[in-house]
Symmetry: C2
């Protein structure tokens, strides 16, 4: 199972784009990058969360098959809220490994900035348990705020200690062509940013934005027909897993323990026959600083309670022990929710094929990508590895 | 790849149900029917179209994993509008055939009757191409009306000729416990029913309703651990395929030719190594009389223009050559959109395990089920076959 090519549209906050044109362009770019014919594509799986609620358009499998010029292929949409892109990647992985198709496309697309912020925020809250959370006024910000508050209390950590997550992400976005928030963020500007819902401040949160990305997946058999452009390295998906926790945050035994992260990482590593020390880059789901911190810990890369110290020690930088957000992550590349998991796959591919430019992680051979739906409820983890041809 | 058990909730039009309780009950019923432990389940794929728009609740993979007591399993939602249930079944099929899981559950759930009809109708129209259809006032009724009008013109067929589709479906629903429209419909009452959008009349259309259904899929390896209750017949999914047409009806070369039906039937038969003459029952997508008629023709069971005559000759009745809607179909069992494809799988299983009661098709050994998203845009076709143990 290989990723033969990738297509990225710039993440924007302008609103003057649309689902079909963004998604179609990403698909065509991925086909071009993989150097395949569109007629060889057997299926399209689309990650999306909000198109029905914000654009009155469901059925993106059909919409984007048409826009991408894919003919009568199989198509459908995968939804797991902010984890929809990872879910679509999982579907594509299963379709190829099952032998049903030799070549499939996985796309992710989200259009959010054409509606009022309140409407987008309400749409995002449908990722929570509506009966006990969203319908009672909870939002992603308030749910992440509750987790962050408990983390700060239990481990006696200050808000300012989370700064390195945002600083690292924004630093990397400055040199990334497709990222949207190219703002130099320092520990001081992070701490001075506006409080949204205590203790969450503006620079803890990923932005509302638009985007589309796509990858071409091919079987071993189809590999001969395609090759990653400008490189002699081929990129294999060596691990794939997903897991689910209680949807309502307060229904979990411990709100700081992201059990679905732990489970999906263990299963992804087990299916890849790799261990944590083999992972050179961890593209985690930094929708909020606290989610980045808890993910690092739940994934087993850092002991509980030590996430902020691990970040403060510079481990997450491009030259660090475990780089994250190498093109800005959700925080600064942007988080077009249903597309994010596919952006992560594209970015991992760019790293592994040595096409990351100024954002290149030197010597990266294995990347873990992780996409989360809700505040830890659905988690999709994939491991990508480079092989010399 | 086997269906080891099924769970059906009664289709209702009362509104006093909810997604979690309906879906959870269907999942638990399927687990019980399959006689497996819930701990053996590796994944849950949910078919749903409208929960975000009508219930402010996305993320049904997590919601129903929790409600069904499935622990930390993989979960996600599949969406292809009215074909969402078939899409979820396809995902489950790929997950098991890939070897990723030995046992998965596919559920479908839809809650529509708690909102005003206008809101449900607008929600359904997001299955169309919003830019050229839904956003310009087209609805499912008007799109099916355009197709029906052209069919009547081209083949010189009267509206009353479509009566057998509705009469057959309603006849079968009378003796089905889980079906919602238990109304005796005659050719006369069909023709006398209220005109909605000419030429579509009330008894051409499937109702807005609520429902949930689930099936347990198991690998060959897991089969030893489960067996269909009260029967010595095991049910295998022998064919699975999907295809996509242009989303906008008027963008198709010929609006009467459902190309995605043709393509998915050909691929499903090819993967099952069966031919049309092997199919004993065709559970087709009779959301509208015209859709039933065009599906029969596009699937290759009936020559073009002869669908109504085929129906008039009694071929679609329980005792006919190719029974359809054996428990009422979309027309009279009801069409809880994202759940419909899973109801079809459950009903095929009941037929093949000889548990269909008064709705039993004698001697049925192979059933084709077909679920369509939009007016022919996304089509999911599966073939189920019984084997004596």
């Amino acid at each position: 199972m290989y990723i033969a090519g990738v297509g990225l549209q710039p993440v924007t906050r302008k609103g003057n784009v649309n689902l079909a044109s963004m998604g179609g362009a990403a698909i065509k770019a991925a086909i071009s990058d993989a150097q395949i014919e569109s007629s060889s594509v057997g299926a399209l799986y689309v990650g999306n969360m909000l198109s029905g609620m914000l654009s009155s358009q469901q059925h993106l499998g059909a919409l984007l098959s048409n826009a991408g010029g894919l003919g009568l292929v199989e198509s459908a949409t995968a939804e797991a809220c902010c984890g929809s892109g990872g879910a679509a990647l999982r579907w594509g992985y299963l379709a190829v490994t099952s032998g049903a198709h030799d070549t499939v496309i996985v796309a992710g697309v989200e259009h959010m900035t054409h509606v009022e912020v309140e409407r987008a925020t309400k749409g995002l809250a449908t990722a929570s348990d509506w009966t006990s959370e969203g319908g009672k006024g909870e939002t992603f910000v308030s749910l992440n705020g509750a987790i962050m508050k408990e983390y700060m209390r239990r481990y006696n950590v200050k808000h300012s200690s989370f700064a390195p997550f945002a600083v690292t992400a924004h630093q990397n976005a400055l040199t990334s062509a497709h990222s949207t928030l190219k703002i130099n963020v320092t520990a001081e500007s992070y701490e001075a940013s506006r409080v949204i819902t205590p203790p969450v401040q503006l620079l803890d949160a990923s932005p509302i934005c638009d985007g589309a990305a796509a990858v071409v997946l091919t079987s071993d058999r189809a590999l001969a027909l395609s090759s990653s452009k400008g490189t002699n390295r081929i990129i294999r998906i060596v691990g794939s897993a997903a897991a689910t926790d209680q949807l309502a945050v307060n229904s979990r035994p411990d709100i700081l323990k992201l059990r679905a992260v732990t489970r999906s990482v263990e299963n992804a590593l087990s299916s890849s026959r790799l261990s944590r020390k083999d992972i050179d880059v961890f593209e985690l789901h930094d929708a909020y600083s606290i989610m980045a911190c808890c993910s690092l810990e739940a994934a087993g890369f850092v002991p509980e309670g030590q996430g902020t110290q691990f970040a403060a020690d510079g481990n997450l930088a491009l030259s660090g022990r475990l780089p994250m957000a190498t093109f800005g992550g959700l925080k600064a590349r942007g988080h077009p929710v249903g597309a994010t998991g596919v952006y992560q796959a594209c970015e991992a591919h760019l790293q592994l094929t040595r096409r990351a430019g100024q954002n290149q992680v030197q010597g990266a051979n294995t990347v873990m990508i992780q996409n989360i739906g809700g505040s830890g409820a659905s988690v999709f983890t994939h491991v990508l590895s480079a092989e010399e041809q």
